[in-house]
Symmetry: C2
Subunit: 351 residues, 2 copies
DNA sequence: CGTTACCGAGACAACGTTGTCCAGACGTGA
DNA sequence: TCACGTCTGGACAACGTTGTCTCGGTAACG
């Protein structure tokens, strides 16, 4: 900037004024300065500017569990788009589900003076964030609640979705329902299982613990677990899968064994309509989750100091797949959705 | 920092030394400073530090075409992980395939003093980047080459992959092969089609223009296009799809019409093995693409000033899906891969 | 012609940090 | 005891920018 000023034979401040588009500069000088900037390849240093201006870095931090997972990719994409509209940029990091790494990343981002954080939290205490929040960096937890701290949360109604899925299976006559869930250390898994249990209790159906498999991390685990269940004297007639990996493994194995049991699962996914079996998925609007979290954070950055708020987004049942079971499901996916349950924000309040 | 110094009754510089872990501070003072830092909630301002230190922001910028696409999500994830190992953070942005937006984003990131850029470029001139590169911000183009500028490029061997796919179809006896490609404005589409044409020419097979459909953006377009081809007097016996969306649409429609034609396609995708039809996909190691680009950029940041370099990663054919056509394909996917062609880096040099 | 008012431009300080240099204190050896 | 060396702490400047204040010039009006 000094060089530009010297080259254009004006003062430093005049260059600053031109850069910031302040109108009170003589047109002739403006022109000279702009020519010099171009000639010298001048680029405004936004870091320095935000230093002077007092922390207005116009950057937020985003920590998800696994960037390559399409669920988080969609979330991230929605967030980036939403905050970009307000001139904000996003530093992204991945905690790999490791609480220690998550903490390190969060603190690093705070040091970098992000103006806010969106975190998909792991299942460890987030007390360390209290200080950062008090120091003025707002935090929004996304998809799962933070532990041991009060902050904004944007969640999907997993419990309600589970209840709806079970209600549908029960009304279709199923009484023996299997469960394939990932680790119950994950909040969403606990919620989904709790919802399912509640709905079954309501329907007066008792749960056979032999039909509840947990710690299913990969399709192979799901295949093995469902295989075991099918080998029981009294096998399930339907299965509820805790996430899309479980669903995929279950569908594969069920198809392989040509077993005629019904499948419901969480986390709708791209291409799910190409599954050979009909599957009912509990899906939530991932884009809305991201957009809502971004909006909540921006409100905090803009000075909203009201009490922390939990937003619960609805989930709904969608019928997917069924190519192998043929032409009985030739309807468009939109009309398929219409005969499914919708759950509103107020449907259920997880604790 | 001033406050900490006052509180600990030491000089500003002493605090700085403690923060930076310089050993020449008396242990007693170090302790006093650390206590004061904790008590006052001091956080080092990395922005200010990098300002003083001369642009060592330890941040890179990443611009992809569409964050929510699983291909770019995987790329991004690999890049974030790779640079994180060197203490770098990543600011991510999405160009939405819009050259003007891409340019705006790139310049914004430069103003923010990122130390390097990885860009999945759109098909417009990147001459504007020349100045930035000269100013010392290295750029690596990923997945597609930049236009009108010489910089590092990390690409997949699309042309070789297309040749391999066609060779396989031809050797299986196919002579009438349809093509479903997205816009030829996209570099990868041009490369893939060029490879296919070259391989067909080599095999002495002439191409019927009625079997070449372009500008296929969505599965529905692919379905319509393949439907038209199947209605011809002399329909194709096989089809090559330019990306996974085309593949999905084609497979759906072919299945619907119960037409027995063979499908090959680009871009392997999660769940592709659950497709009802057997599909041969040309896949590349997406993680390796990202990791390679990150490594190349880090080398430039570390001062590598050698001539711009094009890295071509191999593609290989993988058989996927086939649930609906049943038990003839019961093998594990690993063994399925073993009977497929592998293309090396040196297989083909696209221009 | 003089005075006032206004406007454009420059000097200066400050944002938070760190490198450089220097001063002072302490210890040791002659 | 004095001189020299070493080692720690502090003053100062600088990174690149912008807000504030002030000054000089010009135009308009009395």
């Amino acid at each position: 900037m000094n060089d530009v000023a010297a080259h254009a034979r004006v003062s430093l401040k005049t260059v600053s004024r031109v850069v910031n588009g302040i109108a009170t500069v003589a047109p002739e000088l403006t022109e000279r300065v702009q020519a010099s900037m171009k000639q010298l390849g001048y680029r405004r240093n936004n870091l320095a500017a935000s230093l002077r201006a007092g922390h207005a870095s116009r950057t937020i931090g985003l920590i998800t569990a696994d960037l390559s997972n399409s669920f988080y990719a969609t979330l991230s994409s929605a967030i980036v788009r939403a905050v970009r509209a307000q001139g904000f940029q996003v530093i992204m990091a991945s905690s790999e589900e490791d609480p220690a790494l998550e903490r390190t990343l969060a603190l690093e981002l705070c040091q970098r003076r992000v103006m806010g954080l969106i975190i998909v939290p792991t299942d460890a205490s987030h007390g360390y964030l209290r200080e950062e929040i008090e120091l003025g960096i707002p935090v929004v937890f996304l998809d799962r609640p933070g532990v041991g701290i009060s902050a904004d949360e944007v969640l999907a109604d997993n419990r309600g979705g589970a209840e709806a899925a079970i209600a549908q299976l029960v009304s279709a006559g199923h009484r023996r329902i299997g469960f394939l869930f990932d680790s119950l250390d994950i909040y969403t898994m606990r919620e989904r299982l709790a919802g399912a249990r509640a709905a079954l209790k309501l329907a007066g159906v008792t749960i056979d613990d032999a039909l509840v498999a947990t710690n299913i991390h990969a399709p192979e685990h799901a295949a093995a677990a469902i295989s075991n269940m099918l080998a029981l004297d009294n096998p399930p007639t339907a299965v509820l899968c805790g996430n899309n990996r479980s669903t995929v493994g279950a569908v594969e194995e069920i198809w392989r064994q040509n077993a005629g049991i019904e499948v419901s699962g969480f986390d709708d996914f791209e291409m799910s309509r190409l599954l050979p079996r009909t599957v009912t998925t509990v899906s939530s609007d991932t884009v809305a989750l991201g957009t809502t979290a971004a909006a909540q954070l921006m409100a905090r950055i803009d000075g909203d100091t009201s009490a922390p708020r939990r937003t619960l987004l609805p989930t709904h049942l969608v019928k997917r797949g069924g190519w192998a079971t043929a032409a009985q499901d030739r309807r468009e996916s939109t009309s398929t959705e219409s005969d499914c349950t919708e759950r509103g924000i107020s449907s259920h309040k997880p604790t």
